[in-house]
Amino acid sequence: VSAVSPSLGVSFDGRSTTVLERLGSFVDVVEIAPDRFVTTYADAVDDRRFAAIDEHASHLDVAYHGVGLSMGTASGWNDAYLELLEGLCAQRPPRRHSEHLGFTFVDGHFLGTMAAVPATLAVADLMAERVEAIHQRFGLDFLVEHVASPFARPDDMSVASFLTYVAWNSGCGLVLDLHNVECDEDNGRLRVDEFLDELDLTLVKEIHVSGGLWRDGYHLDVHARLPAPSTLALLDATLPRCPNVDLVVLEIVGAAVDAIESEELVSTAQDLRRRIEVCGVAG
């Protein structure tokens, strides 16, 4: 294990360049959501797509983090997303790419949200099969992420067992989104301590932190705020337990960035850098 701290990344949704202008010199990686980087899936992908990144953060690595593959949809995933991703990878090769173990489309209809797939053996096998297909198609390091979802599900195994099973049986790694698991705990879906004890943390290569909103007693994972102190404390406690994490990403939507004071945003990035230098060692 080399004594190298994980990199620090920030999300960029293509809508506002503020986050790149303010944090481009404080982070190492820009996490791009391909679906939000273009207007429609049919859009051409060329260098002009990366103009804002080249202007404000040309030195940064990129990582693609999808929201529109809908890899959990029973009738099949959204192949237009993968075609878009192929264009982006050809134009700007990423450090890695990742997606969520959830679904945004049902029978061709966009839900307007992302829901988690049920944690069952049949679904785990389906997810592992689809992850393997993505591996074969792209040949890149690929991670999957658990989706925070307040809905009841017909689960027959724990979320941690489900994630570990999918990763073990497909060869992918995991994104551990600490705000997601906090939301799930607050919404009665799991216990964070039990989840972390059960999850094979050696599979975790990326950790995400963000802040959400409370609505009528539910904690929603909408990336509209900076990470809460509880999320940062969870990062401090979890990062030393994840020996293969090489990237920590601050996720926040562009519209929210515009409402945050520049100094607060920069100090958050600096605080995250300090925390990962103290707590994290990338192997």
């Binding site: 679906d35 273009v38 207007t39 429609t40 899936y41 859009d43 051409a44 992908v45 060329d46 002009r48 797509r49 103009a51 529109g68 959990g72 949809t73 029973a74 009738s75 959204n78 679904f103 945004t104 489309f105 049902v106 029978d107 061709g108 209809h109 966009f110 839900l111 307007g112 949200t113 829901a115 797939v117 049920p118 069952t120 049949a122 679904v123 389906l126 307040p150 809905f151 009841a152 599900r153 017909p154 919404n187 009665g188 609505r215 009528d216 007693g217 539910y218 929603l220 909408v222």
Partner: protein, 151 residues
């Protein structure tokens, strides 16, 4: 319950046309109350999200609908359609096109302008960094005596 059945039940539960709480087949009995509340919360959040997104791509007709206190009901009507694409631009064209035949002439006019603007935007995508893109911005610059091409 199969994955497909679960997904269809959940899609119905969080759609504005399902007002009965959207109980998901196969959910554990002790989860049903929490599930009902969660679907209501997410359903409302989706309507708010959709209003925000449509206001960005159809600013004139959504603005007028808001003055008339019709925006929420029209967004819910759009959400009830079963052919919603993920692209907000494509969805905006559908929304504005539907409202272009609205009996209120102002709404009809605004919807036609928004729809035409979105369709015209297709011609200069992908974004040209030297083009202002936003027609309102171009008009404001011209009205103030500035040439938008020299920005």
């Amino acid at each position: 319950v199969s994955l497909a059945e679960y997904q269809r039940a959940l899609a119905a539960a969080i759609s504005p046309d399902d007002r009965d709480g959207g109980r998901v087949t196969g959910a554990r009995t002790d989860d049903v109350v929490a599930h009902d509340a969660a679907t209501v919360v997410v359903r409302e959040a989706i309507v708010e999200w959709a209003q925000h997104e449509l206001a960005m791509v159809c600013p004139i007709v959504t603005g007028l609908l808001s003055f008339d206190e019709r925006l929420t009901s029209e967004v819910q009507a759009q959400l009830r359609r079963r052919d919603r694409p993920m692209s907000i631009h494509t969805w905006g064209v559908q929304f504005a096109s539907r409202l272009s035949s609205d009996p209120d002439p102002w709404i009809s006019w605004a919807a036609q302008v928004d729809a035409a603007t979105l369709v015209a935007a297709e011609s200069w995508r992908p974004d040209d960094p030297v083009c202002p893109g936003d027609p309102m911005r171009a008009m404001l610059l011209i009205a103030s005596g500035a040439d938008p091409r020299s920005e």
